[in-house]
Structures are given as C-alpha cells and as structure tokens.
C-alpha cells in the first residue's frame, strides 16, 4: 500500500480493514528512491547515512540486497585494556594490550567487561554496508547471555565472536555453537548438568525461548524438557583452551522419550563418546518440528518489521518465510532476502512501525550526523567516548551485553507492549538529554570532543540552499512517516529567524559555503541549524524507525 492510497481511502471511505490491503511477500517492484532506501537501511543497519543512501541510489534493490546480506568485510580489532586507572591496574595486562588471553581475575573482570562493551559499541559505530552487526545483535537478543553474570570477559568476547562467525549462516549451526560455547555452558548451567540430577535450565530455554516458543501450536511438555536436559548432560568447557568437550562419565545414557509434540520420538541413549551424538539428534528433532521455523521467523519479523503479528500476517508472511527457512536447510539469508525484498516490507503500513531501540537511537544519530570518533592512537579517549555511549544506552534501558534476563530485552518479546516499553517517563527525557548533549555541547573525553557534525552533514546536501527543500529533505530522511504541514512551517521559521523571504537563508548558507572557515559565517548558520535539528530530533517521529 502506498501513502497516497491510504490518505485517499481515509478521506473518502470508512476505514477499510487493513490486512487485505497489505502487500505480501511478492517481490517488491515499486519505486526505489530515497524513502525506500532509507527505510531498508534504517532496519538493516544502524541508521541510514547520506553516503549509504547515495551509494544505493546508484544500485537496484537486488544489488542492494546482495550487498546488505553479505558478511561484513570488517575484521574487528581485538579488545584491549582501556580500564587501568588510578583506582585499578590489571596485574596481567598492560594498558593498550589485549586481555583476551589473560587468566581469569576477580578484580579485573569488571574492567575487561567494560572494555568489551566499548569494543562492541565500536563495531556498531564503524559498521559497513552489511546487516552483519544488526544480525549479531539480533542473535544476541534472541539467545542472550549476560556479560556480568558469566563474569569472564574472554568467554563473553568469544560468544560475540562466535555469533559474528555464524550470524549469516544456518540457524541449526548457530544454536549448536551457542549450546556448546563456554559462556552459555556457564550462563545456563550446562556445565553442571550431570546424569545424577540433570539440570533443566538450558533444556527448557532451548525449547521455550530459543527454538519452539510459546505460540498457540507449541505443545511441548515438561517431559520434553526433562528428556532434553538428559541429552545435554556431560558437555563441559576445557578451561585450558576454552573448547568444549564431552564428559561421558557425566552423561545420562538412558533412552530419552519425547511427547506427541515430537511424534513420540525416542532418542536412544548412547554409551561412551558416542553420547555426544545425541545432541545433533536432539537439534534435528527440534528443527524438524514445524513450530521451530515459525518461531524463528516471528522473532525476525518482530526485530526487523513490526511486533503486531495477526492472523493475516501469520498466514501470509510468517508461514511462507518459515517454509523458505526449512527448504533452505535453515540458512537465514534466503529468508532475509525474501523479507527485505518483499512488497510487504516496503508497504507504507510497515514503515515507521518500530520504536528505535536505545542502541539504534544512539548509534544511528552518531553515524548519520558524523559524530567524530577519537582516532585509534587516542585509545583512552576512544574507549571513554564509547563508554559514554554504552552508559547512555544503559540509562535508556538497554544495557549492552547485559539484557535483563535469559529472554533478552522485553521490547522484542513482551506482550502486549513490545517496543513501546523502550519509551517511559524516565527514558524519554533521557533520550532528549542525550540529543541535547551531543548536539549542543558534545561528549567530552580528556583530549577529545565529539559533537554531531551538523555543518559537515548539511554541506553534503545540495538542497540546503533552499530552506523548503532542505526541510523536505530532512523530513524524508529523518522520519519514516509524514508529519503535519504546520511542522514544516515551524522549521522554516527557525531557519529564517522569523523572516518571510527564503533568500535570507540562502544567502547565509551560500556565504558559509564560500568561506567555511569564517567563524562568523559559521556561527550565523549554526545558530539556526542547531535549533532546527534540536526541533527535528525532539519530535516524536524521530523515535520511529
């Protein structure tokens, strides 16, 4: 459905039921311009930078998807000690050196975890034109650990790196790698799961939260939880090399009988090293169940499109996506391609349908407006800068690496509020404060100041000479839905300082472009652009993606 159709309909006819009008998964063949590109980039990357929009304007939707769905070419740096200070010095790791090989240290782990969070923020802030970073966050939210709960920064790091390696692969392999990762073995007690008294923790979440869910047709039973727990007995972490191994002494060798939901399947118990094979059989059984692909596609849909899944969506979007997932042997990319290339994704009624997560809000603002990052040689400043962003995300209720529980952040699963829960009387003023801070003052670190580069960003926009075109451009770029006409007028009044003639702005902007180093010419345009962007960023529409 197009915007114009919608307006037309509401004006002329009583509201028509929305679902039949919605585009389905047929390939999108409509307009491919700034609005569509921005929509796609907002969802698949952290913000839509002008460079990326222009880059993809030169390409077709097909080519764009090829690129977005390819793995990132970036090899992230290794996190290093950035936390030594007058209160704490890591006994094993000098400042600037990596801690990922250092032995566990009760005292040093908090600093290392802090470093890891800043490192993750760096990866998001410096992402390329690939969905890779968003997918890492997707998987992390889908099957999370809590950095502080694991309390061993190396394993936390390995967990993220495992997700990076698997993020665009097949779901079964991802789940298997997660199951055996040292962080997860400790986070959900697998490490202590012993035949004498099997620990259900992971066996339960594997089904309830990660693979089957609690949908209407999810009929797994307590017996299934117990049977899975028995299969999972014996997996351990080798502390020498962080690899997993199978401790056959701890493994339950009995036959495991599953409920009717799994076709009364019996997984035969195996003695000795062969016991390890039961895990593959368990995963095959789970993934063979229809609910599994449906559940994962619902999670994808809620993360990337919209939380509202009604019967129409279930039938026309989720079910076909799940079918694609199954036929592609659980490879995720074909599903993403089908979704992001569909009429449904580009339907006007699926634009602006997500409230930006804290990370999306922070990182996209910084990326779109080119907040400078302290250079690598200013290591302390660089990490302090990221630390400030991590802290902001934390006070907006998204503590990077430490979601509230084993189910991830509420916004992605909690009925009925979903992403509305990001916006509270606490977090909304916090988001506003952050905007003001980084827009008007900038984030200071000891030797660096990072402020949104308003002038540099606007200077890339040819339309900036005409105040009306500049406003139109900004509204199109910054908001996923149309705003009230009077808002356009308010913005114009700001740019023109209340004058009526457009050329007063044009002249000022032109003079600035001619002499960008002239302090006064700079201040003259900046004194209008700061309140201009302040107003844009504080508008409710700016919270939407």
């Amino acid at each position: 459905m197009k915007r114009s159709n919608f307006l037309h309909l509401t004006a002329l006819a009583p509201p028509v039921e929305a679902p039949p009008l919605l585009g389905d998964l047929s390939p999108y063949e409509g307009e491919w311009g700034m609005l569509e590109i921005t929509h796609l980039l907002r969802r698949t990357l952290f913000g839509a930078t002008l460079e990326d929009i222009r880059y993809f304007q030169e390409r077709t939707l097909e080519e764009t998807l090829d690129e977005l769905l390819s793995p990132s070419a970036i090899v992230p740096p290794i996190p290093v000690n950035n936390y030594n200070d007058r209160q704490f010095i890591d006994p094993d790791v000098p400042f600037g050196e990596t801690w990922i090989h250092a032995p566990f240290s009760d005292d040093a782990e908090p600093g290392r975890i802090w470093s890891l969070k800043g490192w993750w923020m760096h990866n998001m802030m410096t992402q390329d034109r690939s969905i890779h970073e968003k997918m890492i966050l997707f998987w992390f939210n889908h099957i999370p650990i809590q950095f502080y709960e694991v309390f061993f920064a190396r394993w936390d790091y390995l967990y993220i790196e495992m997700l990076r390696k698997q993020a665009l692969g097949d779901v079964k392999s991802i789940v298997k790698a997660i199951t055996l990762s040292p962080a997860m073995l400790h986070f959900l007690s697998g490490q202590y799961n012993h035949k004498d008294a099997p620990d259900e923790n992971y066996g339960r979440e594997l089904q309830e939260l990660y693979c089957i869910g609690k949908g209407p047709n999810s009929q797994y039973t307590e017996r299934d939880v117990q049977a899975a727990a028995k299969i999972l007995t014996g997996w351990r972490t080798n502390y020498e090399n962080d690899e997993h191994y199978f401790d056959e002494e701890a493994h339950d060798t009995s036959n495991k009988a599953f409920s009717a939901f799994y076709n009364n399947r019996i997984i035969m118990g195996r003695e000795g090293a062969a016991g390890a094979e039961e895990l593959d059989e368990l995963l095959d059984m789970i993934f063979d169940n229809d609910e599994c692909a449906l559940f994962i596609c619902r999670k994808l849909y809620r993360f990337f499109v919209y939380q509202g899944i009604d019967d129409w969506t279930e039938e026309n979007i989720i079910a076909p996506l799940a079918e694609t997932l199954r036929t592609s042997n659980y490879e995720i990319v074909p599903v993403l391609r089908q979704l992001f290339g569909s009429q449904h994704f580009f339907d006007f009624l699926r634009q602006g349908t997500i409230i930006k997560s804290p990370l999306d809000f922070i990182v996209s603002l910084c990326r779109e407006f080119n907040a400078p990052i302290p250079p690598a040689e200013m290591l302390q400043d660089r990490y302090d800068f990221y630390g400030n962003l991590v802290y902001m995300s934390y006070i907006f209720d998204q503590d990077l690496g430490d979601p509230p529980n084993v189910a991830g952040w509420q916004a992605y699963h909690q009925i009925p509020n979903f992403d509305k829960s990001w916006i509270t009387t606490n977090t909304l003023p916090n988001r506003a404060s952050f905007v003001d801070w980084i827009l008007w003052v900038g984030i200071s670190t000891p030797n660096f100041l990072s402020q949104l580069n308003i002038l540099g960003t606007v200077a890339k926009i040819a339309e900036a000479l005409d105040p009306n075109e500049l406003i139109d451009f900004m509204l199109k770029w910054q908001y996923p839905i149309e705003v009230d006409k009077t808002f356009h007028e308010q913005l114009r009044e700001i740019l023109l300082s209340g004058q009526t003639q457009d050329y007063y702005w044009t002249t000022a902007w032109y003079e600035y472009l001619a002499q960008p180093d002239d302090e006064m010419k700079r201040a003259t345009v900046l004194n209008r652009l700061l309140p201009f962007f302040y107003t844009i960023f504080h508008q409710e529409e700016h919270q939407l993606s």
């Binding site: 003023p429 200071s444 302040y534």
Partner: protein, 526 residues
C-alpha cells in the same frame, strides 16, 4: 567458576530534567497550584517581558523626530507620515509617535513608558541573522558569542540548573519563549535556560490536553504512545497549564493580534503564579522593503498595522497587569535587530538600517524620552544611517542591575564587559533579595570549588556517575587541564588541583558526569 554477584558500574541514575521543552521526573514538592497560588500572594519576584519586533523596525516612522521632519520628508518621500497625523506626546515638542500608536501614547502619559532613542551598537551589521545574533548574545559586531545575554544571567542566578530541576524552589521554566526558535537569547554555556512553546494554538492544545492526532496506522499507534509519555514527563508543561488555569485575563485583548494573544497568555501565567523570570514574545513582518505604507495614504499600510498591533497589545497587557495587581512586578522592552534606512524605496518601503528606538514599559519605569532626536543629514544619501546613541547592552545592563538587582561583579560576568546603565527604572533602591539566595541553591550542586578565588591550590568536591570528567578551560574556552577522568564510580570525590602554573585570570571548570553537566567559574589571582 562461580557466578558473581557483582554490583554494576552504576546504579540507576538520577534523571536530569531535560531543559527544553520537557523535563525529567525531578522532585517537585509543591506542584499543586493551590500551593502556588498561596505563594503568588507573597511573591515579589520581578518579571521581564521582551517583545521582539522581527525583521527590523522602521524607527523613524515609529518615533518621529519632529525637528528633523523637513529633512526626513526629503529623504523618505515614499513613506513619510503626514506631519499633522503624528501623535504628540505630553511635554515633548520634538518627539511624536506613529498615528497607529494611540495606546502607547496613553501609557506614556500615565508615566509608564520610556522611549530610548537610537539604540544600537558600533559598526552596524545589516544581516538579519547576524544582527539578531548580536542582539541576543550581546556580542560586538566582529565577535562570535555562542551564549545569550539572558541565558548567562539565568545561569548566574541558577548555577545548578539543570541538575534536579524542576524543584520546590524553582518549579517552573527559568524563561519562556513563545515561538519555535529556541533563541540564542536563552542559551547558556552548554544548556539552554529556556523553554519554548511553538505558538498560542499549541499552548491551548496543551491546556486542553489535546494530543496531536496520529494516523490510524501501526506507526500512528506508536506515535500516540510516545506523545502520551512525552506529555506525562513534561513537568514544565504541566506547570504552565496549572498556572494558566489558576488565573484569567481581566481585560479584553484585541482580536486578530498574535502579539496580544501571546501577551494575554503571559499575563495569565504570571498571575497564575508561574515563577518564570523572563518571557520572550515576538511579532514578525517588520522587514518592510516595500509596501510599508499605502501609496495613497502613508498613515496606513503594513507598518501601521504592525505598530497598531504592538501598541494595542502592550496597552491591554498593561491594563490587565494593573487589574491583576501585578503592575509593580513587570517590566517590558521592545527590540528589533536594526532600524531601517533613512532614505526610502520607490516600492514604498525602506531597507535595512542601523540604530532605532526601544520602548521600555511598565509602572516601575521612569516615564519620558531618553536621549536626543537622531540627526538626519541634509540631502541624505542611500548609505546614510542613524548613529547609535545608546548601546543595546546598556539597556540589558540596566535591566539586570536595576530590575533584577544583579551586583556589579556578576553584571560584568553576564554582560562580558562593563556597560553604563541608564536612569530609566524607578526602583526604590535595589537590594539582592532572599530569592537570589534561594535561587543559588536551587537544584543539586554536583561540583563545589574552594577556595575561590585561589592563589594556588583548589579543591573540587564532585558527584560522580557513570563517566565523569572534570576539565578546566581558560577564558578563551581553551582546555588547560583535566584534573579528573574516571569510569566506574558513583558517589562523591574530592580532587585537589594545583593551579600555580596557570596565569591569573578567570577560568571555567566543567563537570561532565553521566549525562549531566555543570559549570563553575574560578578566579586565579596572585
């Protein structure tokens, strides 16, 4: 390895009220308007209302120098007002008003208006933008100042803002602007000290609790949620509504007059107990390059309509304040980024000019005319302009010193230089009130500095949260030292710092803690 019960690097942070246009959930002890009405009874705080005439008001057709009339007639034949139409002022044989300003004459005759002649600044800049910025910041013509004069004053008055604002001492926005622009006027070092309401109709919607309708779409549903939360977290907005509803206008204001509408709201807010110090209202359209007057009758036209609006709006406002018993508490001032050219355009208008008169109004004002008539040259040329008699910063300094009772040492800090004051405010002695003391303490002090001034060592007591950074800047804004930078702590810290290696002078120390910032001045002397 056992699970650790590690206390994270920071507990839930306290929330900084967001300065414009909504605030965080601070602690507002006396938020009910009943309390505030009681407070209003004993409230003695003074209020300043700034009236901005946007576009550059033609001063020579507003306050006409009668003794220059012939020369004016020659220089601006396309816009000159008929001599006999001009409004004479009691006791003034050389100064007359535009015929549309009868209301202003009445106020003048009641001794409530002082006309200050030829206000401007040296080396007039003719750009609207730049000249507005100069008027709002108080900068010299060749200097860039990124803060506003009123913002600096409010920062001096409320040094803890915005940490833990609103609060019982100051539950209200420090300043309020009607208009969308977030003027430079109220910009402080870092935070803006103002709140802005787009326009009267937005204000009424807020009063009525009407939310801007969102489309009936999934995105619209999210939008509605965000708008609801925004309203719930907008403590300042709630205070405005309470104050507004606790009062009513006691006179009728003229219709179809946007300035009158703004001033009517301001009167109700003041009467309703709002403690806001400074209001800024605007009327635009003064950029009269053409069609300033009607060709057939110069008494009429765009400029006449604007001045009529200004005059009747201010007259009603003053009458309303009198009925409300607030006359002694409020002073207003008109200003415009420049006057207009002496010579006129054939298109019946005038181009950008230089100095122009300002009206200071209010019962506490000393009535009269300050200064001499501008001198119009014989055979005025296009490039000729009105010479400045009074620096606009002298007016600000006068208001700050004689109306807000700011002491000299603070006055100089706020105005960035020394300016003579004018004897235009009839206060019976100005003593810093007890409210000053309260205001200094309002909110939460997250950084104290002592001794100050200092000769050598200085001690900072700071509150830390999340990332904390303490930096010292010299008077030119250059970073000279970073006495503290830390990551994990939440709590109190004491930092001692040796300033002996720094030259004498004024420094700013800025604390960035979590998401809040606070700035203090330190003086280093020998």
């Amino acid at each position: 390895m056992k699970r650790r019960n590690f206390i994270k690097y920071a507990a839930a942070g306290t929330v900084m009220p967001h300065f414009i246009p909504f605030s965080g959930m601070g602690k507002v002890a006396s938020a009910s308007w009943v309390n505030l009405l009681q407070n209003a009874m004993i409230e003695t705080d003074r209020v300043l209302v700034l009236v901005r005439l946007d576009g550059g008001n033609d001063g020579l057709n507003t306050v006409v120098p009668l003794d220059q009339y012939d020369k004016l007639y020659q220089a601006r034949p396309h816009v000159i007002l008929p001599e006999r139409s001009l409004i004479k002022l009691d006791g003034q044989d050389k100064v007359a008003l535009h015929p549309a300003m009868k209301g202003m004459r009445r106020l003048y005759e009641e001794g409530k208006v002082n006309i200050i002649q030829s206000v401007g600044y040296p080396n007039q800049d003719f750009s609207h933008f730049r000249s507005s910025d100069i008027w709002m910041s108080g900068a010299d013509h060749d200097e860039v100042v990124n803060t506003g004069w009123a913002g600096r004053y409010l920062e001096n008055e409320f040094p803890n803002f915005p940490v833990d604002f609103p609060n019982a001492q100051m539950p209200d926005p420090l300043s309020l602007e009607m208009g969308p622009r977030l003027s430079l006027t109220f910009q402080g070092n870092g935070v803006n000290m103002g709140m802005s309401v787009f326009d009267p109709s937005q204000f009424y919607r807020m009063v009525e609790g009407v939310q801007t309708p969102a489309p009936d779409t999934p995105a619209g549903d999210l939008l509605e949620h965000i708008r609801l939360i925004k309203r719930q977290s907008n403590l300042y907005g709630q205070r405005l509504v309470e104050a507004y509803l606790a009062s009513r206008n006691l006179v009728a204001y003229p219709d179809k007059n946007n300035l009158a509408e703004q001033l009517a709201i301001v009167a109700r807010l003041i009467h309703g107990g709002l403690k806001t110090r400074i209001y800024l209202v605007s009327i635009s359209g003064f950029d009269t390059h053409d069609q300033q007057v009607e060709e057939t009758d110069h008494r009429y036209g765009e400029h006449a309509e604007l001045l009529y609006k200004v005059s009747t709006a201010i007259e009603s406002f003053m009458d309303d304040l009198k009925m409300m018993g607030l006359e002694e508490r409020v002073i207003g001032m008109t200003f415009s980024e420049f006057g207009r050219r002496i010579t006129s355009n054939r298109s019946l208008g005038t181009d950008h000019g230089a100095a122009a008169p300002c009206f200071l109004f209010g019962k506490p004002v000393v009535g009269g005319v300050t200064g001499e008539n501008p001198l119009i040259p014989n055979n005025a040329r296009y490039q000729d302009n009105i010479e400045m008699q009074y620096d606009f910063r002298s007016l600000y300094a006068t208001l700050l010193k004689d109306w807000f009772c700011l002491e000299n040492s603070d006055l100089q800090k706020v105005m960035l230089d020394e300016y003579a004051t004018l004897p235009v405010i009839a206060t019976s002695g100005c003593v810093a009130t007890s409210t000053r003391e309260q205001n200094q303490k309002a909110g939460r002090n997250i950084i104290s500095v002592f001794p100050n001034p200092t000769r050598d060592w200085v001690q900072f007591d700071v509150e830390t949260e999340g990332f904390t950074l303490l930096q010292i800047f010299d008077s030119a804004g250059r970073l000279v030292a970073t006495p503290m930078s830390s990551k994990f702590n939440k709590g109190q810290e004491q930092i001692r710092y040796d300033m002996r290696h720094l030259p004498n002078g004024m420094y700013h120390v800025r604390l960035q803690s979590g998401k809040t910032q606070q700035t203090r001045q330190i003086v280093k002397q020998s």
